[in-house]
Symmetry: C4
Subunit: 322 residues, 4 copies
Amino acid sequence: MSILKRKFNPEDDLGFGYQPVLKNQPLILQDGSINVKRKGLPFFRPYDNYNKLITMGWGKFWLLILCCYFTLNVIFAFIYLGIGVENLNGAEGHTAYEHFWDAFFFSAQTISTVGYGHISPRGMAANSVAALESMLGLLAFALATGLLYGRFSKPTAKIVYSKNLLVAPYLENNMGLMFRLANLRRNTLIDLEIEIIFSYNEDVNGKILRRFYQLELERKRVSLLTMNWTIVHPLDEKSPLKDMTQEDLKRTEASFSVLLKAFDDAFSQTVHSRTAYQHDDVVWGARFKPAFDRDENGRIVLDLSKISDFSETELPVKAEIA
Amino acid sequence: MSILKRKFNPEDDLGFGYQPVLKNQPLILQDGSINVKRKGLPFFRPYDNYNKLITMGWGKFWLLILCCYFTLNVIFAFIYLGIGVENLNGAEGHTAYEHFWDAFFFSAQTISTVGYGHISPRGMAANSVAALESMLGLLAFALATGLLYGRFSKPTAKIVYSKNLLVAPYLENNMGLMFRLANLRRNTLIDLEIEIIFSYNEDVNGKILRRFYQLELERKRVSLLTMNWTIVHPLDEKSPLKDMTQEDLKRTEASFSVLLKAFDDAFSQTVHSRTAYQHDDVVWGARFKPAFDRDENGRIVLDLSKISDFSETELPVKAEIA
Amino acid sequence: MSILKRKFNPEDDLGFGYQPVLKNQPLILQDGSINVKRKGLPFFRPYDNYNKLITMGWGKFWLLILCCYFTLNVIFAFIYLGIGVENLNGAEGHTAYEHFWDAFFFSAQTISTVGYGHISPRGMAANSVAALESMLGLLAFALATGLLYGRFSKPTAKIVYSKNLLVAPYLENNMGLMFRLANLRRNTLIDLEIEIIFSYNEDVNGKILRRFYQLELERKRVSLLTMNWTIVHPLDEKSPLKDMTQEDLKRTEASFSVLLKAFDDAFSQTVHSRTAYQHDDVVWGARFKPAFDRDENGRIVLDLSKISDFSETELPVKAEIA
Amino acid sequence: MSILKRKFNPEDDLGFGYQPVLKNQPLILQDGSINVKRKGLPFFRPYDNYNKLITMGWGKFWLLILCCYFTLNVIFAFIYLGIGVENLNGAEGHTAYEHFWDAFFFSAQTISTVGYGHISPRGMAANSVAALESMLGLLAFALATGLLYGRFSKPTAKIVYSKNLLVAPYLENNMGLMFRLANLRRNTLIDLEIEIIFSYNEDVNGKILRRFYQLELERKRVSLLTMNWTIVHPLDEKSPLKDMTQEDLKRTEASFSVLLKAFDDAFSQTVHSRTAYQHDDVVWGARFKPAFDRDENGRIVLDLSKISDFSETELPVKAEIA
């Protein structure tokens, strides 16, 4: 029986064990990020560089590029000064300050391979450094431009989810837990698959454990996302939520994690999107308003700003269950 | 029973609900695009830029590149003029007009890193701007060239579909709905999977609802597309089309959406192709002519221009069904 | 019954219909290419350019790059000549022939953005063309270098297959059709899946039709290819080959198409490999020799040159089947 | 029966046959590499170049780039010397040694397209070689920069596995073989699938054969790796390990190969990770210590340095099995 129960309760589904959620710190936040602090990592983690550079903000990224460019030029300026500024033909500065900037701008012209030539290297040392610098420049800029384009062309899903989970009438005399989503991008999403994991704290002989259930859905896959998609979990006898009230959800710090997978036609790649609903996002007795309209030609017009709109409604009395 | 019916009727398969099609505005057009207008989007959508730049026409793309190049040079030309054209060594213009073009062409030589050097920057300000511009030039051109190559190497399926859906004799005493496809590209398509979704308007107690059915196919997967492939939906007892006439299809604004998925050997990626047939694309009583021939060595010669060719034929009288 | 038979006979598995093979022109050749000539294609097929440029031979590719570079420079040389060679500062040629080469080399220095500057443009026209040329140069070289790297980094499986298909003793008192494969690359192949399609001509009431059977394999998937892999089709009662002799295979122009799919660890992509065996590649009564050895430390040494080696052996008399 | 046994014993699962492991030379090493020497390969293997260049160490890679750059410049220096150093305008060297370095640095300025212009080519021959060199330079640097970025952005899983396999108490009165893993990277891993293959030498009538078993797991897939994941193989009646002692594992040179597959959110690609445990990595009677903690807000803090920590414990006496 213990094994049976364990199978029905996939508590490792999110890689967590039985650990309860405390003080409203859910496992997954609304923006899809994971709410776990990590420590004990090695100090130097070169394998995270690419990830950091691809996911940091644009402002930070440009600043970093600028700083690297400036720093590299400063370093090479000092190297040229070390060799002697007299080895830079055409450098006309007279003071140490002017010498530095001559060397600095010569370095910038070399590293970007623009090479005007009004300043040019003379002698073995300066020529060698310049040859090396232009090579390094090409490689360094390849990293920078690769990252720039990688950031720009990174395949990411831009899914808009309804703000709330609704407990709505569903079929005849029944109820369902519902939310909606739509694609904010112009591209087409194909082969969408969705998974909802419901978790809550359970009191087992005084010990609080976290339980995880994958919710059964009316349909968990669509071939093509043309409009909005309403995902429905029927609140029938098989549902782990069937006897829960709004109070229960709050008390057990219930949360709903949503995992979406789709194929993106523009990027020709699989994209993922995540979100989470907490207990206070659930609205009991409501129904989504249609998010689309018809234009004069009968063509459907989808209004993405209405994706969260709902109206209150009465829920069926579940006579046959009670 | 209601649930059962719902399961047999996957009305969310295309992300549409029960909305009927009006005035011949099908969900998917023949070129595979989705016939839905979208509004309510945020005005500024940076996440759509890549998609737009990758999918816009080639003429528009080149024009955009040229405009950006021109505009950037104009901006930098004014910056150099602001600093003072006397800081550009070798600029020989005498009038304001000539000064502008000196600055403009110096900018172009800097941004493309060609740097002839007959004009070169002098002093802190001009040198700093030039150093910055060459860096920006490298990054901006990386975006442009990345997009150019991304457009050029974008994996897309070029599938040619037969113009019509045929209702043809199939096996002994039976009929099938058939269409053909072939690969227009030289590359090889592997692991092809096809899905046909049939939809029509149904009158349910005076309310018109759209019904969606995934049609059962003789085979929905082939390992390798070597020639043309004829997709067959048998019009047997299980088919939702079994009692429909040409009239019925027209009245209910029936349409057939075709979704194809394949692995492309040249791009090493999964590609998708879509098309749709409307009720007036269906030909009753016809049979595809062979699209291939033999050369003198017994080798098969596929003629892609014949992919839509059919000849009229008589349909079997469905005695046993009637 | 007809439908049943049809299901067991996946004649569309390779996208061919019932067409027999004539004069030893199998569907798939030994190198995995498809033996079908295509015609009726539109004359201008831009969508095939990438594919052609990626798959053409290296010699042809380099020649093409060189020709494009030369041609572009010739075109721009004539444009500069048209503008007047006096607008190229530093061009010292005196004859028309020398003028041309001055313009040509100035163009080469501009298009490659090397821009020495001993020749430099003067005046609006020459400067404009030079600015445009350096931009085009950056874009054109981006295509060339993208293709170069795309060709270099194209994920392709390099699988070595044994030259022959062996009919070998298998388990107790039974026989199997076997061949071997190994990875020629240093990389690791993961999640390998193999499919063998056996096809032959069948005489159905005087009409010759091609039949296709997917052969059942002892195992059609391995998690990891560490050494060589011997693929076995047991010649038991379920095999379509169970009553066939070497003569039958020849008469019916039998052929065996092999489709392999794997995940390549180095390229992080799925790769495919194909080959085909014809009836005269089948050896009756043979057994593969081990392709590996042990070194002094007990470590296994795989000898890829022995992958096709076999020794003759006696086949079991199939008493219980006869 | 023989076939049945064979099916239950997937001895080709790793592409190995029945070959026993000798002298502690397992098939897969702890770092996931495959312990097989390969020979009989063709001498010239261009298809392995990319793989080698992508996977070699960073030091070696930089050295290789530098050597190529140096060598190319030396070659072109000799070509320019062959043409005659008087064809390089601005080269001021007087001795053969100085001539060489003038030519060398001119080559470096050409190949990197920096082109200062204080040295510039004169005449057909020098100009032609320079034009060719700048083209080659662009292409060669494209390969170098492509490889650099390819290495930098290569999607690889950085999984930390616990150092030991534990035989731990599991559920009521039972035992399980357990190990843990966590993600060292900042990125998110989705759709993780794990496979463990247990192999050992078996004495079959005096002949030692290698047996392979895929171990059944409590769960072999998680949707999302948020924390650490403990993989459990229950040592119940179905386990091939159920009657084995620590002694048996050693005698039979038992080993456990772990194959992990996941989707990496940052790289948008599938990544793989492998490891292996040998018999002496198994600890009998131990239990993993929690690797995480709570901070003051109830948020979970994962300590990756504790992933291997365990404490000794007593194992249940398997009364009902004995």
